[in-house]
Amino acid sequence: MAHEHKLEIFRGLVKFKSNTSKIWGVLIFLTIVTAVEVVLGIYKPDMFMHTWMDPFEGGFFATIGNIILSPIVYMKPLNFIFIALTIVKAYYITWDFMHMRDETGSMRKMVVWTSVFLICYLIFILLQEGGYVFSVYNGADALIKKDF
């Protein structure tokens, strides 16, 4: 039962001789990414601790702009880096360890597009509502008291 493997990662930048050496190569890459995350998590460089952009003020279009740019406007750059690196790791685990790279294109799309769409939808709704509940709890006219 001979299986064909695609042996290129990073869009053909690195090409391995055998599937085994590709696996070890991906392990090294994932380890480096995790190490970068851990070092950033321990030292927390100051430049990544504050947002680089303030939210837009104004009407409807400012709100739309804030929603579109919410990862930059509302998120600390450090957290943005962590999430981006996590998605990079998830990509290589799925593509090389789970052999998604060797499946047909339609199979890949069935799995990835479905879950990415539903998860984005879920995250948007829950985080939006979480922020709303925060504003209800902590607004100037909040009726709730927690500090007693």
């Binding site: 995350e37 799925t94 879920l122 925060f134 927690k146």
Partner: protein
């Protein structure tokens, strides 16, 4: 057979069912189907965690202050190190799993056996590490006082280390001054036999308050985060009045009802999400053991295909994939 099975003569045509457009076997597709639905379950949990965190965004516990312990390095504050080790173990066991799948493609029984064995060991180390992590979290660190409103007040003092002023936490054991107390835990044998009471807290609020009065440099820290992401430290006068007027319960460690590190929701989600993931790892280890014995018995050798190893491998990598996200959202962000 011709008399029982209707033969349409179109099996080889696209709509006759004679081809496999995705070029994947039924079993593999069903495993992917399960993985997608399980991924949605986990993202539901993590998004719910995000909801609760956004709800209490200005007072959520700082993970680096909660998970600081490493086995055998007692008393040192080393955030991230232990959980990075756990992550590495799980990625490593994913690698041995994919090597087992690769050896299976070459019908190499000896190699599949070795790599499956190493995968099981990796999974067992991970589950054990998680048990230790839970035990440390449940046992707690410095202890705290919970107010009537459910807020957590922690203790500490300013010390200068290498010229930098730092807020160093003080544990309730060092603070409390023992006092005579008439309150004893209710047991079945000396009261109503049909009610029970959980263990009483180690100290009473009055004992902590007496200790706070006696130690003049100890201050109280509440959970509100300032603009630099640090918890707010109260003044001496405020510290005393907060404990005296609002303190209700001394808390040590964390469980589903109280949490010395901050809001109880943090502990609830920690137990629920890492517990659900740990349950996946445990079932993965059990399935791996079954497959391991099947490999040894030669089941797949006789079947002529090691595809079962590949299907279980998909599940095992998925468990690793979930951990990558749990790691990010519980320990990093």
């Amino acid at each position: 057979m011709d008399s029982t099975v209707a033969s349409t003569g179109t099996e080889e045509k696209t709509w006759g069912g004679g081809n496999q457009p995705l070029k994947a076997s039924y079993g593999k597709m069903m495993m992917w189907f399960f993985i997608v639905s399980d991924a949605l379950t986990f993202s539901g949990f993590l998004a719910a965690y995000g909801f609760s965190r956004f709800k209490f965004i200005n007072e959520w516990p700082i993970a680096d202050e909660v998970f600081t312990h490493v086995p055998f390095l007692h008393g040192q504050e080393l955030p991230m190190i232990y959980v990075a080790f756990m992550t590495f173990i799980l990625i490593m066991s994913s690698v041995t799993m994919v090597l087992a799948v690769d050896a299976g493609h070459h019908m190499n029984k000896a190699k599949v056996t070795i790599y499956m064995f190493l995968t099981i060991i990796g999974g067992a180390i991970f589950v054990g590490s998680q048990a230790w992590e839970w035990a440390t979290f449940i046992q707690g660190d410095y202890g705290a006082v919970q107010t009537k409103g459910g807020n957590i007040l922690q203790f500490g003092e300013y010390v200068t280390v290498d010229g930098v002023e730092k807020f160093k936490r003080v544990s309730i054991e060092d603070l409390a001054i023992a006092q005579a107390s008439e309150r004893t835990a209710h047991e079945r044998k000396n009261g109503l036999w049909f009610t029970e009471e959980a263990t009483l807290p180690p100290y009473t609020v009055n004992e902590i308050y007496a200790g706070l009065v006696a130690n003049e440099n100890v201050l109280v820290r509440n959970q509100l985060l300032d603009e630099n992401g640090h918890k707010t430290v109260l003044s001496r006068a405020e510290s005393l009045s907060q404990i005296k007027e609002n303190g209700k319960l001394v808390v040590k460690g964390a469980n589903l009802q109280v949490n010395e590190y901050g809001t109880t929701l943090f502990a609830d989600f920690f137990f629920f999400i890492t517990g659900f993931h740990g349950f996946h790892v445990l079932s993965g280890v059990i399935i791996n053991i079954i497959i391991f014995f099947n490999v040894i018995l030669g089941t797949y050798e006789r079947r002529g295909s090691y595809e079962m190893v590949e299907k279980v491998g998909l599940y095992w990598h998925f468990v690793d994939l979930v951990w990558v996200f749990v790691f990010t959202f519980f320990y990093l962000v």
